[in-house]
Amino acid sequence: MSGRHESGDRGSPYAPHTAEETAAMLDAVGADDVSELFDIPDEVAFDGEFGIEERTEREAERHVRGLLSRNDDLTEFLGRGHYDHYVPSLVDHLSLRSEFLTSYTQYQPEITQGFLQALFEYQSMLVELTGLGIVNASMYDHATALAEAALLAARVRSTDGDRVLVPDYLLASRRDVLENYTDGAGLTVETFATDDGNVDTDALAEAIDDDAVMVYAENPTTRGTVEENLTEIGDLADDHDALFCLGSDPVALSILQEPAAVGADVVVGDAATLGLPTAYGMGLGLFACRGDFVRQVPGRLVGASEDAADNRTYTLTLQTREQHIRKERATSNICTNQAWVALRTAIHAAYLGPDGLVDLANDCVRLADDLADRLDDVTGLQAPVHDRHHFREFVAHTDQPAKAVTEDLEAEEFAVHAVGEHEVQVCITDSNQHAADQLVAAFEEVA
């Protein structure tokens, strides 16, 4: 097919109906205008122009390329929730196959066994890594998974309570989403203190009471430290009938304490540390919980079964928890998941295998230790700030104002977070370790 279709005015090469077809359909239902088919209150209806300039495809492409060329090409040593690990090309080759590259939800098991199996594998890997019985087929990102955990905690608790306790290092972006979700459920988010990058268990014991529905902590933490008090946190939560929700990620989980073994009831995090680069802000909300919460889990679950011929088969299961079945009684108003991203994560994890995952995680410890040691030798820097084990990232003290240091580093084409007046945070993984020497040299120039 080439050229324009001349069978009537579509108004756009992308619109499926001609003006004649639209008129015939309106005539058939007895309406004069499309607007009669919708009941949109005037106060929310958009009445104006979008102000989008018309461009040909070629012009649009040139324009976008121009915008992209304005991006800085900095070498990133940024972490704080977004982690870059090398994604093998195999992940692209498999995930971009047309059988997988679809926004279609796997509702019909008879036509989507392959994708369902991939999601089941994703869930199964995370069941192994967390030690918890249930993993869903994903939420949007770490923040939404955390918020859903708080709502789950409020649902499963036998008595009333409205307090969600979070550590002072919780990222503002995660806290905002958590508050947004929990506000409507009548929950309040309260902060407890940390001590040298770990939960201050005395402060938590002071803060917690029988009104607490959930306690949240991270391992590794936002500041890169490995949490050493997980069992105590779990016990404190347990003593008050509160759920213990732990934030982590699949790479870290391969070598850190197993969440189930320290009393975690829910594990949340961003599983896209595997399978996706950090660009574009896309995440993959990891949500794992104890098996006895199975009917309270938000989001999609893939289950394994057998068909009439005793073949192993896969299907979306327990959908009655979900909004498309029971809107007013659903466990969550999420009506989607990140299936394709979960597929990529599963492929990446399978490519690494258990040993490869552990090797990658051990690199995250070693690389951070080595870089912190080297930066500690730089005049004007002390690293790490916290006397703890670290994973991927660490906070360093700067004698100069941190903002000035990171701005000067940017001029040297390095991106590093300023996290306090005299604190910067540095994240190193397999994807930027090649530039460690240059980063140290740049710090020597600017610190």
């Binding site: 009917r295 009655t320 079945i325 029971r326 009684r329």
Partner: protein
Amino acid sequence: MSFEVPDDRKYLESHEWVDDAADTARIGISDFAQDELGDVVFVELPDEGDDLAQNDEFGVVESIKAVSDLYSPVNGTVTAVNDALADQPELVNEDPFGEGWMLEVELADDSGLDDLLSADEYREQIE
């Protein structure tokens, strides 16, 4: 097809039955209701000691194709729950008026029994 509608029960329009022959009344759902639902896979029931109010939700029955709320035909207090349904929810399909019972209830003085449908009235409703 014709459905079983025992004469010794009273019925709520939403297809729950109550049998008040013994000291404690039993509650379940009708043959018609289980047939409409299809294969029952899960029944969510209240706890012993919970109070029930006539026409208020007391639980949920889930089948492979639908989820329905369960409404109490009477006012009273739950004295027993059919634990067998946890592992064998299919009893609701197989024997809705017998082994598939859901709750035993101690009726309140104002039980509301007089407001319910007789077997004949219920038969008329489902025909």
